[in-house]
Symmetry: C2
Subunit: 141 residues, 2 copies
């Protein structure tokens, strides 16, 4: 893998397509979101609305913090609370046309970024693993 | 940052020292482990014994899977179960003297690796962020 080949790669070539991304909907109860997170094994996943636009990200940490009371984890609250109230809305994003070096800089501080088109529709995610795999090929070959 | 400078870096130059690593002990109850994980915000942390040797890793996912019953998350079990019973023991590790390219290959599939001395004493962790930060410097400068 040549340096030029590496730097000419774009986010669109490296991302995980939306169909393969575990996600939840805005109005799902936290109970459903926590089950998706535990069953999928992922720590943080995107939150979409019914038109497939990105609305935020939800994590196990945020959900557990929400139900952590003085004495115990109050899990009964999970069926009352919604993803909408607990999600992080300040989500770092990329475009499919963004170059490799832009994606590399972005993943220094984020385990993954959501990829959106110009209208805000969710197209996929760009993960640290995808970037590291190419860096490894470039330096080991 | 020159290629030679990058490849001459070692795990010991890039790791987070053990004093700064959130961890739990083998015989802690899962309740304590889950509180450490939620309060620190980390998804997975190392498990040490009282002599500071590495014994495994524990995650929010593993703890929540443990208490997930037919009807609900049975959080009362958290005070009965121990880290020892729920931790992952197959832990990928590195040495302080391992070179950058060995660490890069290792973080493709692991968000972090534990760094041990020859006797198995825990010295720190090598994270994806530390590797990506240097890759970013090398390619952007
Ligand atoms: N089921 C699985 N099979 C194999 N390896 C697994 C795995 N679950 C986690 N890992 C490994 O652990 C890393 C951290 O996962 P985490 O869930 O904290 O953090 C993940 C998660 O928050 C999100 N993510 C990755 N793939 C996803 C997907 N298909 N759907 C939703 N979110 C995803 O992107 C973050 C970074 O992902 P990345 O692949 O760089 O890094 C992953 C991957 O190397
Ligand atoms: N309190 C915080 N402040 C700033 N950024 C934060 C943060 N908590 C998480 N992050 C960001 O999220 C990434 C994934 O964190 P996670 O806890 O899933 O995965 C972490 C965690 O499992 C472990 N880890 C990192 N630092 C740790 C520490 N001081 N003690 C124990 N475990 C640590 O290594 C994994 C990879 O860490 P990495 O730094 O590459 O990647 C971190 C970092 O970029």
């Amino acid at each position: 893998l040549e340096l030029q080949e590496l730097t000419e790669m774009m986010v669109g070539d490296l991302m995980i397509e939306s169909e393969k991304v575990a996600h939840v909907q805005l109005n799902n109860p936290l109970e459903h979101a926590l089950l998706v997170l535990v069953k999928s094994g992922y720590s943080v996943i995107p939150v979409l609305d019914h038109t497939y636009k990105l609305q935020g990200m939800i994590s196990k940490t945020a959900i557990l913090n929400e139900v952590l009371g003085m004495e115990r984890f109050e899990m009964e609250k999970l069926s009352e609370l919604k993803v909408l109230d607990t999600m992080l809305t300040d989500v770092p994003v990329l475009k499919k046309s963004d170059p490799f070096l832009t994606a590399l800089k972005a993943v220094v501080n984020h385990a993954f970024l959501c990829v959106l088109d110009e209208e805000g529709y969710f197209e996929g995610i760009l993960t640290r693993r995808a970037i590291l795999k190419q860096m490894n090929r470039y330096l080991h070959e």
